[in-house]
């Protein structure tokens, strides 16, 4: 009995066909995603070369450097040049002729091979890219392979799409690439570990180098010096660290720069460029950036009471450079100004501490710099006469003082007491000008040798003595055009002269700066006092006969 052909069986067959068709369509659509594309087939020539070069092997150069001659066939096949034969680039090597070329160095070999790149990638093509244009125009240009690699060269579009922006930059900048500024070679190589270890570890290169991106690599700006480059880089920092930048603009470093002194540090000179450490690093003996330029002062500080304390206990609250000089708005250091305010900011009980040994601590601290007593006596002291504006308290402009001196015809290197007095009068003719006196270090650098208490000067005689070495030199302090202190020698006799008595009303060091005219007057008056008994007594002696004779006569007259 035949099986009945029912409609249900026919519908099932149709559904099966449709399902199969849909599966095949989906398979065709998604196959490229599920199954990676097979690398381009290696050329016969490449396959032949890889017979040997697919295995490990090294080539040595004359300078003992080596290069691996092994090529990863898979990576090469996947590279942009995967379809090319090896001799397309290594033109001097043939299947029937494999010369063993000798190169003095690895670089010589790499540069030789790089010439092959230029056979296809012509100058006109490279010049279209600012980066390449600059690279090919330099005699010391890096070979192509230093950025692009040798056998696994990827298409630009593939390479740009991979990894972070930083990784993209490091493609080239992890290689030993340099640029030349004013004849000096500057490395452009970045160690990824530097950035990873810095406080900017979470930033991409392009956060700072905003002009650069995967798509855009403009030709670097031309700088006349590495210093100019450093200062230009500071503008990058300002975008995030504006507050610090504003402070820095008031600093002596900014003034130096404004006056064209490129030695002034920029942000990266203190903080580093790609290895920016935490702020606390600057408060350590090893990490303090000031020593890069001020090594002599650092060495002095290192032997000071603060330096020794810092060394023995790195966690102790001990002042380092910035504690006194501040970190960003670094003010000009002045020999004529006592660091008193900075010292007393920490040494709060100074008045009690000093009263035990030093009478009148306020009067002393008013004019005697802390350093004058707290630096060992082997470092010379000097007297500074600060000419200050009565209204602002700031140092007088040096030019103003020089104009007045010139008008008086003063040209000598050392200003005489009378000339100083005349200068004071001339200056005060138009405005209030004060003379502030300070006993301080002769060389401001020596102020960093602050000694422990037991070495501090405790003998009053260091100052209070006619032969004190503190008063052998004196100088007038004024402000230069950049705000820095300028010093002009003054005859130290002014301290004990009548002119000094008028000018320096508040400055009197007993024994040290006494008014010598008073000595002469005193001697004359006392000699006058002695003269009375001497002369009167002599007269009495000479006239003694008159008196005794009289008495004798009287006696004779008596009965």
């Amino acid at each position: 009995m035949p099986t009945p052909n029912n409609g249900s069986a026919g519908r099932n067959s149709l559904t099966d066909h449709l399902s199969l068709s849909l599966f095949l369509i989906l398979l065709i659509l998604f196959l490229p995603i599920v199954v990676p594309a097979a690398p381009a087939a290696l050329s016969d020539e490449a396959q032949t070369c890889l017979t040997c070069h697919g295995s490990p092997g090294m080539k040595a150069f004359g300078d003992k450097t080596t290069v691996s001659v092994q090529v990863d066939g898979g990576k090469f096949a996947a590279s942009v040049h995967g379809s090319l034969g090896c001799t397309s680039c290594h033109a001097d090597v043939k299947l029937d002729n494999h010369p063993s070329a000798q190169y003095a160095t690895k670089r010589e070999f790499v540069l030789h091979v790089a010439k092959a790149c230029r056979a296809c990638h012509t100058d006109s093509q490279l010049k279209a890219s600012p980066l390449h244009q600059r690279a090919i125009s330099r005699p010391d240009a890096q070979p192509c392979s230093s950025c692009h690699g040798s056998h696994a060269i990827m298409k630009a579009s593939v390479r740009k799409g991979k990894g972070s922006a930083t990784q993209y930059c490091l493609t080239c900048h992890s290689k030993p690439i340099t640029r030349s500024i004013d004849g000096k070679t500057i490395s452009l190589t970045i160690d990824e570990a530097w950035v990873k270890g810095s406080v900017h570890r979470n930033h991409e290169c392009t956060d700072c180098h905003t002009a650069y991106s995967r798509e855009n690599h403009p030709a670097p700006k031309d700088y006349t010096s590495g210093r100019q480059l450093s200062h230009a880089a500071s503008e990058t920092c300002e975008r995030c660290h504006l507050e610090k930048a504003v402070k820095e603009k008031e600093s002596i470093h900014a003034i130096m720069l404004a006056n064209g002194d490129q030695r002034a540090p920029g942000c990266s000179d203190c903080h580093g460029a790609h290895q920016v450490g935490p702020g606390a690093l600057a408060d350590t003996l090893d990490g303090v950036p000031c020593r890069k330029c001020h090594q002599d002062m650092y060495d002095a500080y290192r032997t000071s009471v603060h330096g020794m304390a810092k060394h023995s206990d790195t966690t102790a609250h001990v002042p380092l450079c910035a504690a006194c000089h501040t970190a960003h708005n670094v003010k000009p250091a002045m020999a004529s100004r006592s660091p008193r305010d900075m010292c007393l900011a920490c040494h709060l009980s100074y008045e009690t501490d000093h009263r035990q040994r030093l009478p009148n601590p306020k009067a002393h601290l008013e004019m005697v710099a802390c350093t004058a007593c707290h630096v060992p006596l082997e470092y010379k002291r000097s007297i500074y006469l600060r000419l200050t504006d009565g209204a602002t308290g700031k140092l007088l402009d040096d030019a103003e003082m020089l104009t007045q001196l010139k008008a008086r015809g003063v040209t000598a290197k050392q200003i005489a007491p009378k000339e100083l007095w005349q200068l004071y009068r001339d200056l005060n003719a138009t405005r209030a000008v004060n003379v502030e006196v300070a006993v301080s270090m002769d060389d401001r650098r020596n102020a960093h040798y602050l000694a422990p208490k037991n070495i501090a000067v405790k003998q009053c005689e260091a100052c209070h003595s006619a032969d004190s070495s503190f008063f052998k030199t004196a100088a007038v302090a004024t402000a230069g055009p950049d705000g820095r202190e300028l010093l002009h020698d003054v005859d130290p006799k002014v301290l004990g002269s009548v002119y000094g008595a008028i000018l320096l009303k508040q400055f009197y060091v007993m024994s040290g700066t006494r008014l010598t005219a008073m000595d002469y007057a005193g001697v004359m008056i006392i000699l006058g006092g002695i003269a009375v008994p001497v002369l009167h007594g002599a007269a009495r002696l000479m006239t003694r006969r008159l008196r005794t004779g009289g008495r004798k006569a009287e006696g004779r007259r008596k009965p």
């Binding site: 209070h464 005193g522 006392i526 009289g550």
Partner: protein, 208 residues
């Protein structure tokens, strides 16, 4: 010889303590001003002694003033208010010192407890006790604590001016000291006046 009780015990004690103080102050003052040229003691020791002795002198000054004011004898220091008479008496005294004394003429002034000083002495001691001593004491106190009296010192023209005033008075006292000691030899015998300052009694020839 007449014996006059011229110097009561408190006056004698005051006088000699005063003399010791002046001696110490002059020596330590010289040391303070001329350290390096005069090196008798350390600067700090000199300052400490000078301050201590200075305050003793100030105390003695007030003892002197209180004693003389209480005993009503302060007037011995006050010169005659009759100017013409004062000038005449002063000229007589000056003539004696400069001329009569050499000829053996009697001293025109006869010291009594209520009229102790001759017109010239009156002027000198009045100036010393009522003008120079206060200046010396005031400037000394100012120089003793520069911090405390900074504003006053400033008002007086600065530390150099105050110091100069202190020094000038000291110089005058030092010079006067030679004259003062010499004048003690002008008694009836060369040591008579000095002896009187120990015993209190001044002896003078009959008829004086």
């Amino acid at each position: 010889m007449n014996r006059i009780y011229l110097h009561p015990l408190p006056v004698r004690i005051w006088h000699w303590l005063n003399a010791i103080c002046f001696f110490v102050l002059i020596v330590t003052g010289a040391q303070i001003r001329y350290r390096g040229l005069v090196d008798l003691m350390s600067f700090r020791t000199a300052v400490n002694f000078h301050n201590m002795t200075g305050f003793t002198l100030i105390g003695l000054f007030f003892v002197w003033f209180a004693y003389y004011a209480a005993s009503g004898k302060l007037k011995v220091y006050i010169p005659d208010l009759n100017i013409m008479r004062y000038i005449q008496n002063s000229l007589k005294q000056a003539r004696y010192y400069g001329y009569g004394l050499f000829l053996g003429e009697p001293n025109p002034h006869h010291a009594t407890p209520d009229h102790k000083f001759n017109p010239m002495q009156q002027l000198a001691y009045f100036s010393i006790m009522f003008f120079l001593m206060p200046v010396l004491i005031a400037t000394g106190i100012l120089l003793w604590d520069l911090d405390r009296f900074a504003s006053v010192i400033d008002l007086l023209g600065g530390i150099k001016a105050v110091s100069a005033a202190h020094l000038l008075v000291t110089i005058f006292f030092t010079a006067f000291l030679f004259v003062h000691v010499y004048l003690t030899t002008l008694g009836s015998t060369p040591l008579e006046h000095i002896k009187a300052m120990f015993t209190g009694y001044e002896e003078e020839p009959e008829g004086h």
